[in-house]
C-alpha cells in the first residue's frame, strides 16, 4: 500500500543502530518513555488500519533510539486525527510525537516532492491551495469579489512585501537529500 521501506531488509540490529540520546528533545515534550506498548494508539488509528502506519511501533522505535524511524515513510501517513492522542492511557500524545518526528525528518531532507510543492504554493500565493479561473468565475456568479481579500489579491495588485518576507523567512526546506547516505 505504501512505499517500500529500505530499512526492513536489514534484520539484525546492534547497539550501533540505536541512539537513545537523539530523541531527547521529543522526550522532553511528551511522555514517550512512559509508553506501555498497549497498542491503543494503533487500534485507534484510522490510517493504520489500512496503511502501513503502526503508531505503537513508531513510539517503540523512538524509545529504542532507532534512527531508521526518521526515514520511515509511514510517519507521513498519519492524518492527525488525534484519536490516539485522545485515548492513550499513558498520555503519550502520539500525534504530537509524530509531528515532532516529521520536523526532524524534514530537517534531514526527508520530504516528499508533493509536500515540497505545497510549501511552494504557500510561498508563492500565500495559500496551500491557490485559486483557478473556474473558481474565479464561480465567485463572480455568486456575487462575491473575484479574488478574496487575502494575501494573494494584494500580491496580484503589486503589494508583494508580506509574501516576499514569508517566502524568505518561513518554511525553509533543506535541499533534496542525496539518494543513499548511511549513518
Amino acid at each position: 500500500m505504501s512505499k517500500t521501506k529500505e530499512h526492513e531488509s536489514k534484520e539484525f540490529k546492534t547497539d550501533n543502530d540505536f541512539d537513545p540520546d537523539f530523541f531527547k528533545d521529543i522526550e522532553r515534550k511528551s511522555n514517550i518513555w512512559s509508553c506501555i506498548q498497549c497498542g491503543t494508539c494503533t487500534a485507534s488509528c484510522e490510517s493504520g488500519r489500512w496503511t502501513a502506519l503502526k503508531t505503537r511501533t513508531i513510539i517503540r522505535k523512538l524509545t529504542l533510539g532507532d534512527l531508521t524511524v526518521l526515514k520511515d515513510p509511514d510517519i507521513w501517513l498519519c492524518t492527525t486525527c488525534y484519536q490516539c492522542y485522545e485515548r492513550c492511557p499513558r498520555d503519550v500524545k502520539p500525534t504530537d510525537v509524530i509531528m515532532e518526528l516529521r520536523n526532524y525528518a524534514t530537517k534531514l531532507g526527508n520530504i516528499s516532492p508533493n509536500h515540497r510543492a505545497v510549501v511552494g504554493y504557500l510561498k508563492n500565493y500565500g495559500h496551500a491551495v491557490p485559486i483557478n479561473d473556474e473558481v474565479k468565475q464561480q465567485r463572480k456568479e455568486l456575487g462575491l469579489e473575484e479574488l478574496p481579500p487575502t494575501l494573494f489579491k494584494f500580491k496580484s495588485e503589486g503589494d508583494t512585501e508580506d509574501i516576499e518576507k514569508i517566502k524568505e523567512l518561513l518554511f525553509d526546506l533543506p535541499e533534496e537529500k542525496e539518494k543513499e547516505e548511511e549513518k
Binding site: 489500512w50 507521513w76 501517513l77 492524518t79 486525527c81 524534514t106 455568486l142
Partner: protein, 302 residues
C-alpha cells in the same frame, strides 16, 4: 474587550479558492443572525495543521500568529469555517495566550514579517460552535423559514473537537452539538458505523500519498453507504473536498457508484434561513448536482 457580535472572517484556502458558495452562505447566515462580518485583509493560509506543522512547528506557529495578529488589530474574534483553520488558529492562539515565553518568542520572529504582534486578546471560533452553542437550536427556530426533512450522515471531521483538552468543545467520542442543532432545521442525523473516524485527507496524507488517503476514505464511504443518507453534512471545506472528489475518484477507479451531495453546515443553515437555491451553489458540485432541497423542504413562513 473585543467587539461583541463582530467577527473577523478568516477564509483560509480551500473555501474561497474552491468552494466560494460556502463563503457566501456563511456570510449570509451570520449577517442574518445579526453579526457583523469583517474581511481580514492580507490574511493567508492558516497554515494547515497537518502539512505545515509537520515541516516546522515554530514557523507554523509564527505564520498562524500573523493571521491572529491581523484579527487583533481589527479587535474582533476570528470566525473560521474550516476544521483545519480552526485547529491551527485555535491551538496557536490558546498557546500564545497561556505561555508568555512562547508569545515573546513568536513575536520576535513575527516582527520580521512586518508590523505584526500578538497579545492574546482574541478568541478563535468555529462556525459550528457559534451556531451550535451561541445561537443554539433554541435560537435558530424563529430565524428559519423552511425546514428540511432529510436524513443525513454527519461528518464532524477531526480538528473541530480534538484534542479535547485543547478545544474544550464537546466529547470526541459521542458529540451531539451538530446533531442537536440540525434537528431544529428538521434534519435528522443517522448514525453510521465508525462515524467519528477521519475522512483520510488530513495530516498531509492527501498530498503525500493519495492512494492511502483514498483507502481510508473508501472505508468511510462504505459505512456511509450502508445507511443511505440523503446527503453528507460536514463542517470543513477540506473534508468537503475529500468527500466531493473522493466519491468521484472511487466511482472512476473502484467502480463504485456514489452520488451523495456534500453540504456544509453553513449552506444548510443558509438555505433554511431563506437563501436562494442558486446561491447555495449545489450546481457547482461534482456530486449530487440534481439534489434539490426543494423536494424535502417545508416552508415555515416567517
Amino acid at each position: 474587550m473585543v467587539k461583541e457580535e463582530t467577527f473577523a472572517f478568516f477564509l483560509g484556502c480551500i473555501m474561497p479558492n474552491r468552494y466560494p458558495q460556502i463563503e457566501k452562505a456563511t456570510k449570509f447566515v451570520m449577517e442574518r443572525l445579526g453579526y457583523k462580518i469583517l474581511e481580514m485583509e492580507k490574511a493567508a493560509c492558516c497554515p494547515a495543521p497537518g502539512v505545515f506543522r509537520s515541516f516546522n512547528k515554530a514557523d507554523w506557529m509564527v505564520h498562524a500568529a500573523r493571521n491572529i495578529a491581523i484579527a487583533e488589530k481589527m479587535d474582533a474574534d476570528i470566525l473560521t469555517v474550516c476544521n483545519g483553520c480552526f485547529g491551527t488558529l485555535q491551538e496557536v492562539n490558546k498557546r500564545i495566550k497561556e505561555d508568555e515565553t512562547l508569545r515573546l518568542k513568536v513575536n520576535e520572529k513575527l516582527k520580521l514579517l512586518g508590523d505584526y504582534k500578538v497579545n492574546g486578546t482574541i478568541t478563535v471560533r468555529h462556525i459550528a460552535e457559534v451556531l451550535g452553542y451561541d445561537i443554539g437550536p433554541w435560537g435558530i427556530e424563529d430565524k428559519i423559514i423552511r425546514k428540511i426533512n432529510a436524513r443525513v450522515a454527519v461528518h464532524y471531521g477531526c480538528h473541530f473537537l480534538k484534542p479535547t483538552k485543547i478545544r474544550e468543545i464537546d466529547s470526541s467520542e459521542k458529540p451531539t452539538i451538530i446533531e442537536e442543532f440540525i434537528e431544529a432545521l428538521g434534519v435528522k442525523s443517522i448514525p453510521f458505523k465508525e462515524q467519528l473516524t477521519c475522512c483520510g485527507a488530513g495530516g498531509g496524507v492527501k498530498a503525500y500519498d493519495g492512494n492511502a488517503s483514498m483507502t481510508i476514505f473508501s472505508e468511510k464511504m462504505v459505512n456511509i453507504d450502508e445507511v443511505k443518507p440523503d446527503f453528507i453534512l460536514d463542517i470543513c471545506p477540506f473534508c468537503h473536498l475529500q468527500f466531493e472528489t473522493g466519491q468521484d475518484y472511487l466511482n472512476q477507479n473502484q467502480s463504485c457508484n456514489y452520488d451523495y451531495p456534500v453540504i456544509h453546515l453553513s449552506q444548510l443553515t443558509a438555505y433554511c434561513m431563506g437563501m436562494d437555491q442558486e446561491f447555495i451553489g449545489l450546481q457547482y458540485q461534482k456530486m449530487g448536482r440534481d439534489f434539490l432541497f426543494g423536494e424535502k423542504s417545508t416552508e415555515e413562513g416567517v
